[in-house]
């Protein structure tokens, strides 16, 4: 009897690796592929493709990763939620990943909890998202993460009076609150605040008003994309730079892909962000090179791409460690405290307490490098946790 038992046990153990060879891990990617905001989704998706191409061979033998892509068409939480439902119930995915938009992530969160499906957020940046489900981890950023330390930095670098102008929606309010807290706690003074409508063709009226109130610096947040270019132009056209006003903000206002369109108006803008394509870390140079090889010399990976890239790194880590047999709770345990010092953005970690990213924030200045504009990093604030969670003690 004992003999048989042990024999079966031995056989089972012997057969395990064989069983494992048939493991296919299904990852549901919810991303924006169509509509006016498809550029953002394209960055993430290109990073996912590139990562897969470079690292697929490193998976344990027999383990395969199948990516199932779905298009949420933009900030449409009802569509995103339905797609997540279908991915979980019909396609039986082991993990969910992607998501550009905060409302979409928030709509999916309860599903991740109910189905115990690990959910890796590659972009959506509202601070509270990671608190919405114990199965959410995030490798992107929060606006507090860049705005709050930037407020501190600005106050300590001889900026005494600042004006805040942000887009009038959730992320804008986050950026405003983060900067204001960091800046005023360290002796800075806010001389004016304005929230600009999201759909706004012309920034000149706001710039005029700001010019008239003569601050030393103007802190701006508007969503990455053409709005930032328009704002930059208005800033230059009205001569705010000549009036001695410094334009500062989180890195969203000078994303690497938009910089070429901004022209000289952007030179000298100081931002704080977790990623710049111009960074000289070897890991980043390799990443940018691979990107240009794959997608053409005129393309540049931006911070969205790095979110997709590091998200894939975390997913691959979980798949490798479990040899393709994915368990929701084990995956979350593997992600908590996961570190990667080979990320293009420098060392990163997933905070074991909040499951949110801990990363370096860099102070950068827009300069002309070899004929093209670039965000040149000149100071590092190491391993910043999301200050919103630290201050409000949220997990």
């Amino acid at each position: 009897m004992r003999f048989w038992k042990s024999l079966i046990a031995t056989a089972a153990v012997a057969l395990l690796p064989w069983a494992a060879t048939a493991q296919t891990v299904k990852i549901g990617i919810i991303n924006t592929y169509s509509g006016p905001n498809a550029t953002l989704g394209e960055q993430i998706d290109n990073a996912i493709k590139l990562y897969t191409k470079e690292y697929e061979k490193n998976l344990p033998p027999g383990v395969k990763i199948e990516l199932i892509r779905r298009d949420d068409t933009g900030p449409n939480p009802d569509v995103a939620k339905r797609l997540a439902q279908e991915l979980i119930t019909r396609d039986k995915v082991n993990m969910l990943a992607g998501v550009v938009w905060t409302p979409n992530a928030a709509a999916i969160a309860p599903l991740a909890t109910e189905a115990k499906i690990p959910f890796m957020i590659m972009n959506a940046g509202t601070a509270a998202i990671s608190t919405m489900s114990p199965y959410i981890a995030r490798v992107s950023f929060t606006l507090w993460q860049s705005s709050h330390p930037f407020g501190i930095w600005a106050a300590k670098n001889n900026i005494k009076k600042a004006f805040i102008a942000v887009s009038d929606y959730g992320p804008g309010h986050d950026a405003e609150a983060g900067f204001e807290k960091g800046f005023t706690d360290n002796g800075g003074q806010i001389v004016g605040k304005v929230r600009m409508p999201l759909a706004n063709p012309d920034f000149v009226p706001f710039m005029q008003r700001i010019k008239d109130s003569a601050p030393e610096a103007l802190f701006v947040f508007i969503p990455a994309g053409r709005q930032a270019t328009a704002l930059m132009k208005a800033f230059g056209d009205l001569g705010l730079d000549k009036a001695g006003i410094k334009l500062i903000g989180p890195g969203d206002i000078t994303t690497d892909e938009e910089l070429p369109n901004m022209g000289d108006a952007a030179i000298g803008v100081i931002t704080m962000h977790h990623y710049s394509a111009a960074a000289t870390r070897p890991a980043n140079q390799a990443f940018v090179q691979a990107w240009k090889r794959e997608y053409g010399p005129n393309t540049t990976p931006a911070f969205m791409a790095v979110g997709g890239w590091d998200g894939m790194a975390a997913i691959y880590h979980a798949v490798r460690e479990q040899k393709g047999r994915i368990d929701g709770d084990k995956t979350m345990a593997l992600w908590k405290g996961w570190k990667n010092d080979q990320s293009p953005r420098g060392p990163i970690m997933i905070d074991p307490e909040t499951r949110d990213i801990v990363q370096n924030e860099y102070v950068r200045r827009v300069e002309r490098v070899g004929g093209a504009l670039a965000n040149v990093e000149f100071e590092t604030i190491p391993m910043v946790k999301d200050p919103w969670k630290v201050i409000n003690n949220r997990k």
Binding site: P201, T229, G236, L238, G239
Partner: protein, 290 residues
């Protein structure tokens, strides 16, 4: 007092620059609506095409700004003739709903084509050095390009008004707007008149798209995103009118700028509330006939 004066000057100036772009783009829409009774929601497509052609001619082929603008306007006007003859003309007698749907369909197609050719990012608009920076008027300085924009637009508008008031073609247009059947029975070839007017309106829109590329960024969703602004100008101004949209554009442009400057908290509401109020007060528009 000085602060107040300075603020008013900026509001007027920037509101006017914005209004000029809106007017040049929208005036053609007003005329086609008044003349042919055609609800052409795709009018913004012509402005978008003008913007793309202008920026491409400048950025890729190094064509000087002025030539690029003229080229874009002429090219779009020609293109619009083809569209008018083969597609629009078939729907002149149709209901508003059909026209709305048809033109929305055109916008969808244009958005996809533009994205296919030029990609999703907005186009770069690098102004000639002479037009960038600030220009000093002694008592204060203004952005050069916007000053140029206002000046050139005013010239265009004067030419346009003179053309409508003084030329034979203008007289025919006015007659056809007033009473199409009567105009026809007087021997005016309204079919040809429609085509010419449509081409003129589209060419102007293209010019506006190119001139205004610095204010209304050229990107694939252009024809949708700014549609509501063009419609507002036309609806408030009054269909078929040349002056109505001008007054409407100035009114909306300046009040939008003023409220964003003075009370930014309600900045986004004011323009819509103003439009609703104006339209309820005068449903046919300021200069339209009920």
């Amino acid at each position: 007092m000085d602060v107040f004066f300075s603020a008013s000057i900026s509001i007027l100036f920037h509101g006017l620059a914005f209004a000029m772009v809106l007017y040049i783009i929208s005036v053609g829409l007003s005329v086609t609506m008044g003349l042919m009774g055609f609800a052409n929601l795709a009018h913004g497509v012509f402005a978008m095409a003008g913007g793309y052609l202008t920026t491409t001619a400048m950025n890729t082929y190094g064509v000087p700004f002025g030539f690029a603008l003229v080229f874009a306007a002429v090219a779009v006007a020609l293109l619009s003739v083809v569209l008018e003859r083969f597609l629009y003309a078939r729907l002149y007698g149709a209901g508003e709903l059909e026209q709305v749907l048809f033109t929305i369909g055109l916008i969808f197609m244009a958005v996809a084509v533009v994205r296919y050719i030029w990609g999703p990012l907005p186009q770069r608009m690098l102004l000639p050095a002479a037009l960038s920076g600030q220009i000093d008027f002694g008592f204060r300085s203004f952005p050069t390009y916007r000053t140029f924009l206002i000046a050139i637009s005013l010239v265009l508008i004067v030419v346009l008004w003179l053309g409508i008031e003084r030329t034979n073609f203008g007289a025919q247009v006015r007659a056809a707007v007033d009473n199409r059947r009567m105009a026809e029975s007087l021997g005016i070839n309204t079919g040809r008149l429609f085509t010419l007017t449509f081409a003129l309106g589209s060419g102007l829109a293209a010019l506006g798209g190119g001139l205004g590329a610095d204010i209304l960024a050229i990107h694939p969703a252009y024809a949708f995103e700014y549609l509501v602004y063009f419609l507002m100008v036309v609806a408030v101004g009054g269909l078929g009118s040349i002056r109505g949209p001008f007054v409407a554009a100035v009114l909306l442009g300046v009040s939008d700028t003023a409220f964003k400057y003075l009370v930014p908290e309600v900045g986004a509401f004011v323009i819509y509330i103003a439009v609703i109020g104006l339209l309820l007060w005068r449903p046919a528009g300021l200069f339209g006939r009920a």
